[in-house]
């Protein structure tokens, strides 16, 4: 159903004058990174007063495309037009000058500076700074667009939603005409997401062109006017949001096949309790990190911990996985107290942890795969002080084959592996430890569909011998895999219920935002 963009506009009575020129036009833009073809002959038009969603999975080439628009890369082939004229951006500054602004997935904010300083960075309008005036300018701007924020606040103290507002203010101050948002809702609560969408609609009503990059179908449908689907670096389809009948319809267009994801989830008999947490609390200078957290986890079940990032998931995982001792309350792992369990330091048949940061925490980028295997399994390959490298190498080879890790040789260094392959390797390594308790943090973040399916299947298989604690920000993942769901907000357990409890599941959004009523 890929139809030419202009034709749609002519058919649609709501778009205003038919002869509106696109603010930005991409003409056959191609970008390669070494062997990888990130963008392949992409042509798109971005219209003023419209919200265009760029839908695609991770690795489909969305971010590369936008980085070229923002002047961070130059296209290898094709060109970019702004307001009808051909341009070439050699730097971010030129893109900004042309009116293209970008809100990155990872905010480009200096945490140690104030909101006003961040907004005006690079746009101070003079060599000497007047802090009072800077605050006034930013405060006035925030007021004009209804984005409530204290211009004097230190960005490091702000919530993710507030930081996003700072990013938007940066663009508004620069009078950007095209505002590009890269996965803007990933860090927001459902309430903050709604507020963001309102802001997007109001900016678009004022004539700004909005580009909304996402892989979340429902969001795209609720906010976008037009949708372009990107797959493997190519535009696979472009259509109006009103033409899409359902999220499933959109999913089919995005993935290019009918069934989105297929995991076989058969019930597994529940075994003994492998993890028991009672009244666990942790404090920091700023307040409570964990506040009377309590739950049990049995062998054979998956318990999903959901919540917006930064609401206590990290301190919880770090305590369970032995990095920080519990401040108050009890944690029992496999029937042993925390201190006894971690004094024993068993590598096998105990606990395995798949951290969110697979490239910086779970593996060493400068070490080869054998050494990365040894990272958590070295006790299994040691005779006293001596290390059996030969055996470790052959085991690594087995894992690489069994989990289809590419490139398939054990001498490869971790940094040479893609995210998906690295995750498969980490999973293979951790399962090699035959854990009875598995902690998995955001295990499929940034993976393509095939890798996601593989990871999900492994997690479900792990239930046969272990209890799985799945910490995720992806609700659909939680609903698909878990037996029970635990919602966290500001270090508290807002709810703990079976995933089959439709009434409670309906309330997850409210619970994540701290509304218990």
């Amino acid at each position: 159903m890929a139809v030419q963009h202009q034709q749609h506009l002519q058919h649609d009575p709501d778009t205003g004058p038919v002869d509106v020129l696109p603010l930005v036009r991409l003409a056959g833009v191609t970008k390669r990174f070494g062997q990888v073809l990130a963008n392949d002959g992409i042509s798109l038009s971005i219209m003023p007063g419209r919200i265009k969603a760029l839908l695609g999975e991770n690795g489909a080439g969305k971010s590369t495309l936008m980085a070229m628009l923002a002047g961070r890369f130059q296209p290898d082939e094709g060109h970019i037009e702004v307001a009808g004229g051909r341009v070439r951006f050699d730097s971010s500054r030129q893109a900004i000058a042309a009116g293209i602004g970008m809100v990155y997935q990872h905010f480009m904010l200096v945490e140690d500076m104030s909101v006003a300083e961040n907004v005006l960075l690079g746009q101070e309008g003079g060599f000497f700074l007047n802090p009072a005036r800077m605050r006034a300018v930013v405060g006035e701007l925030a007021g004009r667009f209804g984005l409530g924020i204290d211009p004097a606040a230190r960005v490091g103290d702000l919530s993710m939603g507030e930081r996003q507002r700072v990013e938007i203010l940066k663009l508004l101050h620069r009078k950007s005409r095209v505002l590009i948002f890269d996965e803007p809702t990933a860090v927001l609560t459902p309430g903050e997401t709604e507020a963001l969408f309102d802001a997007l609609r109001s900016m678009s009503a004022q004539g700004k062109a909005i580009v909304f990059i996402s892989h979340k179908l429902e969001e795209v449908l609720s906010v976008a006017d037009e949708i372009a689907v990107l797959r493997r670096g190519r535009v696979e389809g472009e259509f109006l949001a009103s033409e899409v009948s359902s999220p499933a319809d959109l999913a089919r267009r995005m993935v290019g096949r009918d069934v989105l994801l297929d995991v076989r989830r058969e019930a597994v008999e529940h075994g003994p309790v492998v993890l028991s947490v009672r009244d666990l609390s942790m404090r920091s200078v700023g307040g409570a990190l964990l506040d009377n957290v309590g739950f049990d986890l049995r062998q054979g079940e998956i318990l999903a911990v959901v919540g917006v990032g930064g609401n206590g998931q990290q301190p919880l995982v770090e305590t369970l996985c032995g990095l920080t001792p519990p401040e108050s309350g009890q944690v029992e792992l496999l029937g042993e107290s925390w201190s006894r369990f971690y004094a024993g330091n068993r590598w096998k048949g105990a606990l395995a942890w798949i951290p969110e940061d697979r490239a910086g925490l779970a593996t060493c980028r400068g070490l080869n795969l054998t050494d990365n295997l040894l990272l958590t399994t070295r006790q299994g390959f040691a005779h006293g002080q001596w290390l059996e490298r030969g055996r470790a190498t052959s085991t690594t080879g087995d894992i690489v084959r069994e989990h289809n890790v590419q490139p398939g040789h054990v001498e490869a260094q971790a940094w040479q592996l893609s995210g998906g392959n690295l995750q498969k390797f980490v999973l293979g390594r951790e399962m090699f430890r035959e854990p009875r308790l598995l902690v998995a943090e955001q295990p499929t973040q940034g993976l393509d569909v095939a890798a996601t399916e593989a990871v999900w299947q492994r997690l479900l298989d792990a239930r046969k011998t272990a209890g799985v604690l799945l910490v995720t920000g992806d609700l659909s993942e939680a609903l698909l895999l878990s037996d029970r769901i635990l919602v966290m907000y500001r270090g508290r357990v807002m709810g703990l219920f079976p995933a089959s409890d439709a009434v409670q599941v309906e309330r997850i959004g409210a619970l994540m935002a701290g509304l218990s009523g």
């Binding site: 990095l323 400068g366 958590t376 070295r378 002080q385 490298r389 040479q416």
Partner: protein, 366 residues
Amino acid sequence: MILIVSKREALPGRGVLVVYLGALALALGLCAGMLLLAGKPALGGLAVLFQGAFGQAHSLLDALLKAIPIFLCSLGVALCFRMQIWNIGAEGQFALGAVGATWAALSFGGLPGALLLPLMFLSAMALGALWGLIPAVLRLRLGVNEIISSLMLNYVGILVLEYLVFGIWKDPASFGFPMTSEFPAGAQIGRMGASLGTGLLGKLHWGLLACPLAGLAYSVFLGRTRLGFELAACGEGERVARYARLPYGFLVLLVMGLGGALSGLAGCIETSATLGRLQPTVMVGYGYTAIVVAWLARLKPWPIAFTAFLLAALRVGVEAMQLELQIPAAFGQIMEGAILLCVLAGQFFLTYSVRLRRPAPSEAPS
């Protein structure tokens, strides 16, 4: 023209040699320039340098002797650098080693060599290790930057040595010169002369044996033992260490202790075998050269041995320049600094490839 920088897939084998030779040539050029600046003959000066360093058998032998302390200190430094612990304190640990050895030699002078020498080694290594452990403990307990604390302890260590030599350890028969009395025969490391004949090789002393032993221990430890693996993994960062339950704190203490002990051993050998007494001239900056060596050799034992010898030869060559052309000894430092800077810059080409590309006509700036 556009400069395109991209990360290399793998390190090229022969490329390493090319890069190092290029960097070396650049550094030599820079140093020749400095000679001109000081009004000395540039090419002639470098010729004297090479002639002095590699021209005769005895200069090579001299270099080998100087390479012993450099090699030992450098192994210790490399061990710490592996873990990203920036131990700049080899010089001070070396000084404390010399002090420890002297203490044993002066206190137990009556013991036979078979007992006294091991005792000197032991006390030298213990004091060196202690000096290395101070920054390690400060870092672990309080988060004090080990670069500056270990460096400050260099100054303090050298002053401790001077305090002793100018004060309570001064030989009454030295006519006021700051030096201890000569060590008893049992406290002096013997020359190999007895077994190798009276030829040139006879100048070598048994302290040389410490090098292959330490080098072997270093590579076996890092390559074959669990602790050695844990050390290398810790070098990837403290966060990974916490995830993998590596004994990070213990390893910091271990490498700083071992590093200090190795430098202390070097101080002991230099005092006992080369000078036969303690005097301030024992401090000639081997501890700083060791850092240059460790980094140039990318922390690998065989390259460390080779580079230690090379920089020792450089020192011998600079001595010849001093004699023949009255070029200040600091020329050696300039060379070390210039080589390290050039190699550091050159290592860029080992990780990144740079290509020049002509912009396509369609991409001409608008």
